[in-house]
């Protein structure tokens, strides 16, 4: 057990080190959501109502970039480069490797959320989280959901050159309809309906309650349920389609 943990920990540390040595990956994973927070924070300055929306919205977006976007791109890259195949030939068990990769993504999520929450409290007058239990629950569910969907998406991406197109074709519309930048209630009905079917909207609803409004957890169990249903779907697709090497030909 301890040996398995030690192996995962070593791999996790390598992944962290590699991440920080690659400035462009670090930028996309880290700076982009924070840049959005700064810009929208500046635009909405003076309107507390809007700031109360943008902070949980960006928190949700951060979870999506650090898990869904990062893992989809990362897995496609590692698969196409043959790193996955090479690692598969070593005694490192697949489970330890994937746990290290997931742990790496979750670390980025945690760092981002701390920055977003701190900025919300210090700069945007949103205050500290109202319900930590609810916050942690929703973040955990969101991470599992979006991480597994990201890995599942990687199976559909044919090569690394096309990865940004595939990822952004999903990521950009989803963050827009899911109410990252505005109150989703104000969107036209058909967009609202689409958004209601997607996990990010419900994740942001839950984060909003935990971070800003303080609405009781019991009122948001349906949101949690939607996120978990997507998580189940994501896990099945991520595991079933997983391939350690690029397709032939």
């Amino acid at each position: 057990m301890t040996a398995a943990l030690a192996l995962t920990w070593r791999q996790y540390r390598l992944e962290r080190k590699m991440f920080w040595r690659n400035p462009s990956a670090a930028f996309f994973n880290f700076v982009l959501p924070l840049l959005f927070l700064a810009l929208f924070g500046a635009i909405f300055a003076g309107s507390q109502e809007d700031l109360d929306i943008i902070v949980p919205g960006i928190a949700g977006m951060s979870i999506m970039t650090t898990t869904f976007v990062a893992l989809a791109m990362n897995v496609v890259f590692l698969r196409e480069q043959g790193v996955l195949k090479r690692l598969r030939g070593t005694p490192l068990p697949s489970g330890n490797y994937l746990a290290a990769l997931a742990g790496h993504a979750v670390t980025n999520t945690a760092i981002q959320l701390m920055i977003v929450i701190a900025a919300g409290a210090l700069l945007f007058n949103v205050g500290l989280p109202q319900d930590w239990v609810m916050l942690v629950t929703f973040v955990a569910a969101g991470v599992i959901c979006l991480a597994s969907l990201g890995v599942a998406l990687s199976h559909a991406i044919p090569n690394f050159d096309s990865a940004p197109a595939y990822v952004n074709a999903i990521f950009l519309p989803v963050i827009i309809v899911s109410g990252v930048f505005y109150d989703a209630e104000n969107a036209p009905a058909f967009l609202r309906d689409i958004a209601q079917a997607l996990p990010l909207t419900h994740l942001i609803d839950g984060l909003s309650a935990a971070l800003v409004t303080g609405a009781p957890f019991a009122d948001h169990l349906d949101d949690l349920a939607v996120v978990l249903i997507w998580a189940a779907l994501g896990i099945v697709l991520a595991v079933r389609g997983f391939s350690w090497e690029a397709r032939r030909g």
Binding site: L7, R10, L14, K17, M18, R21, N22, L78, E80, Q81, G82, V83, K85, R86, R88, G89, T90, P91, L92, P93, W244, E245, R248
Partner: protein, 297 residues
Amino acid sequence: MIARVQSAAPAILVRDLHKSYGNVHAVQGIDFEVAVGEVFGLLGPNGAGKTTTVEVLEGYRPRTSGIVSVLGHDPGGRPRGLRERVGIVLQSSGIYRHATPRELVAHWAGFYPAPRDVDEVIELAGLRECEGVLTRRLSGGQSRRLDFALALVGDPELVFLDEPTTGFDPAARRAAWDTIRALADLGKTVLLTTHYLDEAQALCDRVAIVKSGRVLAVGAPAQLGVGASSRYRVAWRNEGGELVCRETDDPTALLHQLTSAALARGTGLADLSVSRPSLEDVYLELTAEADVEEASR
């Protein structure tokens, strides 16, 4: 080449191996054995089924049918106990781009129960000059040396090398050959694939010539030359100064004839040579025969 100790149980055993991808029968009944400590080569043109065979043995691909044993294990289940005893150099595979060879060799060492010393492996693979350079800045030859180092650091009993020198310049090939010979001298069993005849000849104790998913011949490179075709090639210049070349099963008689005639004439026999067919001749002959068979099928 040094004769190596061979124990009873083979390191690798392959019996009637078949592998199909949909309608493509990449491997159509391959048999061979590799003894412990032997350097064994799968020699054949591109698309012969060499890589498919090796990847079945490495545990990357399930086989369609046949018996396969690697160090006493069925590689199909990818048992960890087997992965700890095997080193793999894939035909091409990437690596973390923002790490140095030294960092990676040290990291890889941690995957194995009894790794070799990191410095020793770096020396053996010839990575000393670039051990601190990020891998994305390495040359092709240096990257390949890193592949070797990562395959060796676990101190494997058996090393798979899939086209270890394809695309190398001559100097880099010689360096890679030296590393492979060093492996053999350490007593490792090596299974390599190549489409270079000189490579098979230079490195392998025994070679299986593979074409279209079948083994055409197996044997020591020197034996293959003699065994598969018992002819000798005798060449000389005739009275007109033309180079004549004749193949015969009995060079003694022909030479007697030629030398007697030359003595009788009182002239010499310019450019006389007697040679056995090289591995290249055998290879070309066998693969051409396979083509004819295929066309007639």
